[in-house]
């Protein structure tokens, strides 16, 4: 295993990059972990309508601290700021919205993603117990699924793999992978490297990515705005 050619991005920077892909005016659901960080990192002038599984649509930012009302929460246990035009509803409606394909984009965390776009993010087999939450519904049914995660495990093993060894969240569901060193698009022809972090060549990225990817004709440095 070679050493990193340049620093990897922070979790916040991954989230900032993911936030760039969120469509102005879109209905967006953010998973826990890195994805949740997107909410306060939107580009200037972009307004989203965040959805959370527990029954809230239309918030756009998080309070940095619990403000005393446990009845205004998102699914990750964060506390959204109230904005005009938001709505509260129950879980039946909330998952009708998800399963019915009305979520424009979901950003989810990942343990493993395969070159076919399979996603595993709900259980580490050696633990023997996991948490599905709304993840399977989101991964299966959102119009676009972005996975935001570190590129490798802590011991530098690829998380982008030929075949997920962890239990799947959904097969063939991921559209985009945004990591701390690369932006990769999942197409039917395979993986396409779209961007790499400063100081990382396509070969550097490939060295810690199990499936071979194609370097996109549009390949460019990691976008920041």
């Amino acid at each position: 295993m070679t050493r990193d050619p340049a620093p990897r991005l922070s979790r916040t920077d991954i989230a900032r990059r993911a936030a760039l892909d969120l469509p102005d005016g879109g209905i967006v659901n953010l998973g826990i972990g890195i994805p949740a960080l997107c909410s306060n990192l939107l580009p200037e002038g972009v307004e989203l309508r965040y959805h959370a599984e527990n029954g809230i649509l239309g918030f756009s930012e998080m309070n940095t601290k619990f403000d005393g009302d446990p009845n205004i929460m998102d699914a990750g246990g964060n506390f959204p700021k109230l904005v005009p035009g938001m709505a509260f509803f129950d879980s039946v409606e909330s998952f009708g919205l998800i399963r019915g394909g009305h979520i424009d984009v979901t950003v989810l965390g990942g343990l493993q993603v395969s070159d076919k776009g399979d996603l595993a993010n709900w259980m580490i087999p050696k633990r023997g117990i996991g948490s599905i939450g709304g993840g399977m519904d989101l991964a299966t049914n959102a119009k676009r699924v972005i996975v935001a995660m570190e590129h490798t495990t802590r011991d530098n093993k690829p998380k982008i793999v030929n075949q997920c060894s962890f239990p799947l969240t959904a097969p063939n569901c991921v559209d985009d992978i945004i990591t701390d060193i690369a932006v990769i698009k999942v197409k039917t022809q395979g993986l396409f490297l779209m961007e790499a972090a400063q100081g990382w060549s396509p070969d550097d990225v490939q060295a810690i990515t199990e499936p071979e990817f194609i370097v996109s004709d549009d390949f460019k440095p990691f976008q920041t705005a």
Binding site: G25, I27, E47, R49, H51, L57, G58, S60, E61, K81, L82, V83, P84, G85, M86, A87, F88, F89, E93, F95, G96, L97, I98, R99, G100, G101, H102, N141
Partner: protein, 253 residues
Amino acid sequence: MLGYHQAMPVSKTIDNFNDAVADIPSGASIMIGGFGGAGGQPTRLMLALRDLGVDDLTIIGNVAGISATTHYGWREGADDPKPVDQGMFFASGQASKIICSFPVPGTTNPLSEIEKAWRAGRAEVEIVPQGTLIEQIRAAGAGIPAFYTPTGVGTSVAEGKESREFDGRTYLLEKALTGDYAFVRAQKADTHGNLQYVGTSRAFGPAMATAAKITIAEVDEIVDPGGIDAERVGTLGAYVDRIVQRKAGDPYP
């Protein structure tokens, strides 16, 4: 209770009813909200579609086509204006099919436009139990392709359908029902497309809004975001593509 933070509105407002329906092609399926009667009926959208003149339409509604002849759900004996209903698309020859639960009243005289078109062989009428119809529509919007219901077992409704036992009781398999467009009527919309309904005007509207490819709302009033209480949103803006405000003093209820 809500101390609002400011946000930018995303407007879906269309200026007039003709523009709102202008892209509807011949052959489209149109879901029409409400229950039957004036309350909850998107009357101005219906009139605009009639004026658009496209044909071969499939209309999906609940109680359908009986108000014009019986005043069902309208002020008794009202003649200013006369009640209108989904029958207008059959009188005009624009509709070739209706899917509904209640197309004829108990009395036969005078015949409704739907019954006339059906008798003349100009229109197909598919009659579905009301609970099955609304659940089929809800299923389409909620990503459920099919479900089982006890309603209709042992009747003509079961013909050609799969049945299956669960825990010793027999059920029918029913499929989701979508539409190209939904017309819904609400009292208020905000510019995000959130809708607020009153009284019994909800009925089929909220489910249809989730089930159609394009949802158009006819409302009495359009307000800025925040003008509808977050606790009182009956249809999420996520489902609504276009909103049109009725003119004050519209003679139609």
